[in-house]
Subunit: 481 residues, 2 copies
């Protein structure tokens, strides 16, 4: 007689213990295919449990396909295939998650990262609390595929007032980060298309486009923007540019280059320009550079921007503006995708924009970052090596280039810095192809995440180390001569 | 002499008015290419502003490429191409965003949607407030690419305790919705692969896989799960299944079918099963059906689940569990993508799981939904048409099938329901190919978003309308005879 050892001390219900017991008998082939199980009554009396308990166990076994119920006859074991068993020698290897690179160094002049200490957390928390109490009903409703309309209206207003971009809120698509929106855009534009990207440029853009199946071609940067000649030669349909502040060269695209770019796009209804306006808000002097989008009258520019750079990296909110032709296509083909940003963040950000906090936050950040930039420039200009160093692209955005004339290679400069605990990136890192031509070794300096003390220590230490290296090398040169 | 009309009443700074004035003179060709601009001093005295004001205006024009500065000579107009101008007859057409379909009807027995009234909002708000005050420092930091470790630990614990799934938290990838994770998975598995999907099945899955470039093949459902024979014939590398509760047929995949499926996968290291466990938590009777993932010993099952169905659609949090081989590939190739879920939601959900609220919430929901299901089944079974109707798949999950033997077509049934303000979906809707074989017209009934009153009114009205239609038709038949 089928027996299951029942443990009355266990938290597990009896029916479940019986179900598991019979299941393992079947799996171990102790109960054979088509063998009849004891009747519910018999088994209940044998195990001294209620018939209902046996019924529940049998029901679960039927549901999962271990046994079948034959009306007016009873329960039979189903002939089941054995579950495949292999020795798995992988399961004890847990792949370890890598820490981000910059953590290995004491001080990093990397361009990534945002100084989250600047974030007006108490204001954000205040708004969050208000949203939690006032918007209870709305908070749980799914937001429209393109994002909360209230947020899109605020973004449209902000763009009109601060970037002179005139759009309808309906043109805005809100998504969980620029990376997500770029992948969505690939689906909208067509995976089979070829996209030109700036060389040098932001490496992730290239990677995301390629991961999503697009062909990517590099187009060189001229002194006033992307090379229009090479763009024509590339036969690309799409081009991704950073006109307000090229990353990493810091070039502002000239009006001449902009006009040529728009002319290029207008030669086919299938050509599009993706304008990544990633740090236009954080320009230090003069007025913001007008967006390419606002110069376009022909439905060819897609504008992208993010709140990750201006607020906090943990807030995944970016947006893009689609020209009308693409918007129609998006609504027809891609609106089945649910929006990827939680409603809570969208409501809070809408309030943050509406109540003028974003503007105030930007102004405060600009002041802070400008102070850091001035400090760092002062340190460089007052160092003994100053006459061997040239600062480039320091007027826009959150990084600049440090061109060196020390006779030391980029690799040498980076390793020397590393040896004293300072992390820097060389310009060559941002080139996808190896045939680039950098006349003088150049370092890309970011400073947004560093305190005044860190800037002071880091820059001083690095420059002093470079000087040592420079002196030693010249000593050797002298000695050889 | 170059003149700009200055408006001292305006909020716009003077330098900006001068910059705009000169810019429009250049754009209108009133200032010709290579023409020299007045010196700063001359223009300042002419416009009666300070030299610094003129300097700022000229700086901005230089930065944007409208003019150039020649050292020791002055400022010259840059020869610039005209911006292309076309008449744009599209800009006044704002594509209107479509409302969701179900809103047109008074009562909808649709399967989508969650009853957000069940969401323990005050608990969630309490946890949110606690997170806002306690986690200030951590909240602004970017979360790891795969998600907050604290959340992944809680998910792992939950899966172990309630689904008997043993995994390392490191195997979990948290993302902004199942749709996003599915797209990520396509990148991981390879866009060139062929994926088999269940026919009938969830339409969006097919759509998302196709939008992301995969080839998709339909494989029929047998009475105990997906057809293994057709799966072999399809030559697919990947298969997407809903073993715990097939959508929409409600079938629980039998252990026999599971074993065959795992055997299929183990015949090649490149074969994978995507297990979508979308509503396994909301099973009404017996214990949860074991996940296919927990039966796999060979690194071939990818498990996916979401909190959108169990909590609220506005919370975009889903996760997937990768087997070790794929996890390694993910870490090597896709970890450059930033995580798509804001840290705030991840911290709050981690607390919600840790403090046992999720379990309590599920129990409450199960009770509510079961009550609604019982009510709706009672209404059907006690209606005059009862002997013409057969209820199928009512034991698992949040929907069931209503098979009709009324001699009315599916279209007829749907239209009759619509004429009295009730929205329903026919089973045929869930088939991708048109050559399906449904013996008797069948309706898919969902009830999660309806109140008791709505269920009462909606079901009664619909069944009565069906009866009228049924009687009329039989009258006609009688009269003809």
């Amino acid at each position: 007689m089928l027996t299951v050892l029942l443990d009355y001390e266990k938290k597990e219900p009896l029916y479940y213990q019986i179900y598991k017991g019979i299941r393992s008998e079947i799996q171990a082939n102790h109960l054979l295919p088509d063998e009849k199980l004891p009747s519910k009554r018999t088994l209940a009396s044998h195990l001294q449990v209620s018939i209902i308990t046996i019924q529940s166990a049998y029901d679960q076994l039927v549901e999962e396909g271990y046994i079948r119920a034959v009306p007016r006859s009873g329960y039979y074991v189903e002939p089941t295939q054995q579950l495949p068993v292999i020795s798995d020698n992988n399961t004890d290897v847990i792949p370890i998650e890598h820490e981000t690179e910059s953590k290995k160094y004491k001080i990093s002049f990397s361009t990534s990262g945002v100084d989250t200490k600047q974030f007006p957390f108490s204001t954000w928390a205040k708004l969050s609390r208000r949203i939690l109490s006032e918007e209870q009903e709305h908070l749980l409703q799914a937001v429209p595929p393109s994002g909360l309309l209230a947020l899109r209206k605020e973004i449209a207003r902000y763009l009109y007032e601060f970037r002179s971009i005139k759009i309808f809120p309906e043109q805005i698509i809100v998504g969980a980060g620029t990376e997500y929106l770029l992948a969505l855009l690939v689906q909208l534009l067509g995976r089979e298309k070829c996209c030109a990207v700036e060389e040098p440029g932001y490496k992730k853009t290239r990677k995301i486009l390629m991961q999503n199946g697009m062909t990517v071609k590099s187009v060189s940067m001229e002194k006033d923007g992307i090379s229009i000649k090479e763009l024509y030669e590339s036969e690309a349909d799409i081009v991704h540019v950073t006109p307000s502040h090229h990353f990493p060269l810091g070039i502002v695209m000239s009006v001449n280059c902009r006009a040529s770019l728009l002319n290029w796009a207008m030669q086919s209804s299938e050509r599009y320009i993706i304008e990544d306006d990633y740090d236009s808000e954080l320009r230090f002097s003069g007025t913001p550079i007008p967006a390419l989008y606002s110069m376009d009258s022909g439905n060819h520019v897609i504008y992208m921007n993010t709140f990750t750079k201006t607020l906090a990296p943990s807030l995944r909110i970016s947006y893009m503006i689609l020209p009308f032709t693409l918007l129609k296509k998006y609504q027809e083909q891609l609106q089945f995708y649910a929006n990827t940003v939680p409603s809570f963040e969208q409501y809070t950000l809408a309030s943050f924009l509406r109540d003028g906090y974003f503007e105030r936050h930007l102004n405060r950040m600009k002041k802070t970052y400008r102070k850091r930039k001035d400090q760092i420039l002062f340190l460089i200009r007052s160092h003994k090596l100053a006459s061997y160093l040239k600062i480039k692209g320091e007027n826009s955005g959150l990084h600049f280039l440090l061109e060196t004339h020390l006779g030391l290679s980029e690799k040498d400069l980076i390793e020397t810095a590393e040896s004293v605990g300072v992390h820097i990136n060389g310009l060559s890192y941002y080139y996808a192809n190896s045939d680039f031509n950098i006349e003088y070794p150049t370092i890309v300096i970011g400073y947004t995440c560093l305190t005044e003390n860190q800037i002071q220590t880091g820059m001083q230490t690095m420059l002093d180390a470079w000087q040592d290296r420079f002196n030693k090398k010249n000593d050797i040169v002298k000695k050889i001569i």
